[in-house]
Subunit: 432 residues, 2 copies
């Protein structure tokens, strides 16, 4: 029984998806029963790496959705619109949807899941996070026996490439960014990657699945990596850390309910932590739960082949269900998304974390004492204080705190900034 | 709609499974719809960490299977019999089966899968490999779009603990084994672990899923870690390697069909390889495919909590299907097992791999020349030759080869063994 699918978009991932489906030999036999019957694109004239008969290609994207023979719509357009509207229209027409669109799901996941549940169709999105790494389906289907306590990921390959390169080459951010752009690892406008927005989309999606609650994308606290310097990477290295852009979702028991921390920021990661060795464009997601402990998923976080592998696995999952389904079948509760409540988000000031801070100070006696006293007054306890050397006339002091309340730490910093002996505070980075 | 299940066995994993099911708060809501209605054990008098009403507990294992209300039988007895017979009887009675029994599945998987397909029931086994790491379901459901080229795993926690400890402490095998036994990381009879038999069971299962063919357990070539010495670990370290017990399934294109290498042996792994950093009792499986590239799954490979997490996830998957299934539903082809053919296995002599070998030689001029010439005569090309020092009167020489045919390498060794200048060849270890 052949299942007919419609592709929306034939860019990098769309092409990779078509290449797998058109060449099924040596892969799962189910692939032979999938037929791409329509492909919606913006322009018919663009040269393509895969060829379809003219009647398959169309610029009428809505025609792909309304084709009565098509059972699965695969949205690979990217961007918010028309992707969101087309997904909703496909659902309204009772088509199952496979998408790689993290931006749409992170912002409109609720609306989309609710519509899908009403229509009795699946919306699968393995490719939206972690490229080819199976992470969405394991979270839904394999880890639900656990109370998830945290999900911590390196989920943006561009920033991980840049930070890795800065570390190995001792280079500065702007130089590595330019090189990454030349190599195609970073976009001409790198904002979504280097400012952490892409990672924030992804952690919003992972958190909503792992903690089984609705998450508002704007609730994700977000800092990018532009301010990271080669100097901080060197100091981090001396202290036993590497710097990574982490996306963190962490449950904490509040007074009345579970609270959720949601944050993306550069982070000092101890060299013996499993995430410290994830380098280059690779992604990795570490999930911690009870009674499981820690499991980690690692692999290529982007690229045509890996992302297409995830897209096609979603298509196969729906085809497998269609082929085995009986009459009056309902939705599999582990594959569909049902979120009863909004997660309660911990404001960033209330987060408890360790900090690394670098100070430039005038070389006067007692400056370390001033720092220690001021931090102490704000309940900030220090794990280590290192006077690292001199920059011109100024002494450089690096401190690492114990776990402290971010609000207290910020207040202490405000006071320290006003101390006579302090020239400036060039770097403040959280520590995992 | 509550689904009733029967547990066979209430040992470590059975207890962990019951603890999750009896305490569902904060976990996936589906757990609230699962009821343990019978527990089959060998003795009713043994003290237990979980309590059941007397009518639930029974020593009549067959009564668990024949109970008409029970839809899922969870086999956690371990060992070959009566586990195999009970699994087959449960299938014959049209019960779905969840098992953690790698030994039974590795040896009788074919018989069990065939019976299950005929009865229209599922046999799920996530806990059989990698403890709490989701690896079986991802292989079945998430990676099928790819042509899998290799599966390489650290799948035995005991041997990984021993090798890690030998590496960090510079200790010898027997001392670390004794300590591991005292800590409960190794059995009183450590054979199944240290001789690689447990890892061989697991790679047989992973290979049959990843390469979609039948695999005979006895076709897995198997060497354990008893012969590994602190000396070799030190030399490996100097050459940039760590020693790991790897379980390897690797596809190679033969003349007429795909051939499969299946082997378990200690292996020198380059320090920058993702598997080199998997230490202690952790497990990890690296899957490589096209177009995916490499993905790796990492986590706790044993223990009550992690293994129970995998068992319960399998139970949940079946419950989700039961709850959503319509009339005349068939088996989901991605969750059931259908193997058409036996995989063709490459004999170990025909495997191409690199080797590390350590020689003790008399200190005569030209001995390195003899070695090089003899290897060369057998088409064995050397990547590095290091004269490392002296042991008493004897010189110690370590060589690492390029990729060579194992049969050729063995022939060369036979000839070298007879050279006047060679005292002995204490170590031969494959290199990844």
């Amino acid at each position: 029984m052949t299942v007919k699918i419609g592709l929306l978009g034939l860019g990098t991932v769309g092409t990779g998806t078509a290449q797998i489906l058109l060449n099924p030999t040596g892969r799962n036999p189910l692939l032979k029963e999938i037929k791409i019957s329509k492909v919606g694109v913006r322009s018919l004239d663009k040269p393509r790496q895969v060829e379809f008969p003219p009647e398959v290609m169309t610029t009428d994207l809505e025609a792909v959705i309304s084709d009565p023979e098509i059972e699965i719509v695969v949205e690979l357009l990217g961007g918010l619109e028309p992707a969101r509207s087309l997904i909703l229209k496909a659902i309204a027409q009772k088509k199952h949807v496979v998408t790689a669109n993290k931006a749409v799901i992170a912002r409109y996941g609720d609306e989309i899941y609710e519509a899908a549940n009403q229509s009795g169709v699946y919306v699968l999105l393995e490719a939206a996070v972690g490229g080819g790494i199976p992470i969405i389906k394991p979270l839904k289907q394999s880890l639900g026996a656990n109370r998830i306590t945290s999900i911590i990921g390196i989920v943006n390959g561009t920033t991980n490439y840049i930070l890795t390169k800065m570390t190995t080459a001792g280079a500065d951010f702007n130089d590595v960014l330019t090189e990454a752009q030349q190599l195609g690892y970073a976009e001409a406008d790198p904002t979504a990657d280097v400012d952490g927005l892409d990672a924030a989309d992804k952690i919003a999606i992972l958190a909503s699945l792992g903690f089984a609650g609705r998450v508002k994308r704007e609730d994700v606290y977000c800092e990018g990596i532009r301010q990271i310097t080669a100097t901080d990477i060197t100091y981090a290295e001396q202290l036993g850390f590497v710097i990574k852009l982490l996306a963190i979702a962490k449950g904490t028991e509040g007074e009345n309910s579970q609270q959720l921390q949601l944050r993306v920021h550069p982070t000092l990661v101890s060299k013996d932590h499993p995430l410290a060795n994830i380098n280059g464009v690779y992604n990795s997601v570490l999930v911690e739960g009870n009674p499981l402990g820690q499991v980690m998923f690692f692999g290529p976080g982007a690229g045509a082949g890996p992302t297409a592998s995830a897209v096609v696995s979603d298509i196969m999952n729906i085809v497998a269900i269609l082929q085995s389904s009986g009459e009056n079948q309902g939705l599999d509760p582990l594959l569909s998304c049902i979120h009863q409540h909004f997660c309660q988000i911990t404001p960033i000031e209330a987060v408890e974390t360790r900090f690394y801070a670098r100070f430039l100070t005038k070389d006067v006696p007692g400056v370390i004492g001033y720092l220690g006293t001021t931090f102490g007054n704000h309940h900030v306890s220090l794990e280590s204080v290192v006077q690292t050397g001199f920059r011109g006339e100024l002494a450089e002091i690096v401190v690492v705190t114990h776990d402290v309340c971010e609000g207290n730490f910020r207040q202490a910093l405000e006071e320290i900034r006003n101390l006579e002996a302090i020239d400036s505070i060039p770097s403040i980075i959280r520590v995992l």
